[in-house]
Symmetry: C2
Subunit: 338 residues, 2 copies
Amino acid sequence: MREIGEFGLIDRLASRLKQRVGSHPSGVVIGIGDDTAVLEYQPDQQIVATTDALVEGVHFRKDTITYHNVGYKAMAASISDVAAMGGRPQHGMITMAIPADIEVETLECIYDGIAEICNEYDCAVVGGDIVKTDGPLLINVALLGTVERGKALLRSTAQVGDIVFVTGTLGGSAAGLALRCQYKGTELEQSMRDYLIGCHERPTPQVTAGTLLAESGICTSCNDISDGLASELHEIAAASNVTITIIEKHIPIHDYVRQFASLTGSDPYSWALYGGEDYQLVGTVHKQHVGAIQSKFQEHQIPFVVIGEVTGFGNKVLMAKENETIELEKSGYNHFRT
Amino acid sequence: MREIGEFGLIDRLASRLKQRVGSHPSGVVIGIGDDTAVLEYQPDQQIVATTDALVEGVHFRKDTITYHNVGYKAMAASISDVAAMGGRPQHGMITMAIPADIEVETLECIYDGIAEICNEYDCAVVGGDIVKTDGPLLINVALLGTVERGKALLRSTAQVGDIVFVTGTLGGSAAGLALRCQYKGTELEQSMRDYLIGCHERPTPQVTAGTLLAESGICTSCNDISDGLASELHEIAAASNVTITIIEKHIPIHDYVRQFASLTGSDPYSWALYGGEDYQLVGTVHKQHVGAIQSKFQEHQIPFVVIGEVTGFGNKVLMAKENETIELEKSGYNHFRT
């Protein structure tokens, strides 16, 4: 590392991006290489801005994910935040704190993963910072996106009587992690293994779903599921001061996740509720518009699954099981409580 | 830390900002508390975007700076990048990676420093992320600012014949660090001590100077001095493919810095050239406009010191000393070479 220097390293990593992203992506007046990037947006757009960090040993480990996919997933988490607001991701800035003994090739792998997902979602890395650390590798993504003026999807506007939806199956990421860790010896057919690992390592942020919801004008609240369904519902319930009631058996769970749970004696609902990192969207829409939005989603072949309803005021999340209704705890994946 | 939880911690830190910054700063449609911030800019503005990280043990130590000033300086470094583009800082996002044993009060101190400088520069913290780490404390600031369309100051447009300027004295930050470290026993009068420590811990980003230069339309290149004068000049020389020649004795150095250097047998020019973190601006302007820009700076009581000239093509930085002209090495403060 020493011999290439900071500027040599930046050049090498930036070149991984250029190969794939092209040097003149949309809205980039000045990209990597000056004191700041210079960006341009359309006057009818508002900017959505988010930042998310992953730390080795806390959020990922070498044996649970490849470095390529660490880059992919770091960017996916931020893209998912933008999607949850109904926005389109545009411009990212990457900070990496790197231990002295890390190989340049490892950093290139991470950048290749970043470049891959940037290509898929038509966004560009426009800057960053690379610093030394005595601690573990850290990757921070600051991401800017755009949303049509006044159309951003908030958490705080859910209304009593709205239905609660999710945009796809849940629990896959937690199942994939379990397959990487405590159940790593489990023999599975390849397609199931690939699916579960894919859910964990290469989540799919729901940008199209988010923009459909924002354009529709009938989505009253939205979150992305980074910390588990229970935690996200609690955030909506708290911000909107409503009681949300979901029906356990309506939570969509992929067959592979059910099968793997059954094989390992695990509870797939626990993965869905508390596992997190599925990066589907959860939110609320006016009940009378459910049909319209469902057919819109169908056109785009995106699932729109009704899992419950906003049943009253107060800040509470309930779940109806077979024989009883329980209050759901918030505790998803929370770094400061576990 | 455990008992307050992540959300409790975010609330506590956000409240430090609200007390000082006010809850409705300019351009903030949605601030802290949703998946992303939602921001709005004027249609004639371009966005400048930068990100900078500080790591404990690498960029600062408990015995070289207070935690309050760590927050202040982390934000100052990013504001300075925006200033170097001729922009005004607007909206920041703070990522902190925090060790398990850190006190909430320490984080509050950092946030108080961030809030202080945000108030001074009329910018707002609109989001962030807090993650655990097994390593040292890390603070990353992603900052967005605005610049009038087409007016951003680049590195790549210096022209042969331009003069080279700086906006204030250099070497103070390195002197302050030396006073905190190797010369910490040195007896100094209080005003000198305060000045030197202030230079190191509480640098003053040159936003007004940057906006004056951008508005003037005659500034052909600009950088902020984060890595030392030599390194910044090299960046301009490389990006513009020019040879820059500065005159050593024209480099402005504060009397206190000279006196402290003399007391400790140090070279104040070495501090100015290679110390870094002075956060003054260095750049080039057309020679025929020097008078006009100088009086503009005088109106605002900002120094504008001519230290050299763009003397030819090629990628080189020269310095005229008393009896000889030497080639200046780039090596300022570069994490990967020291």
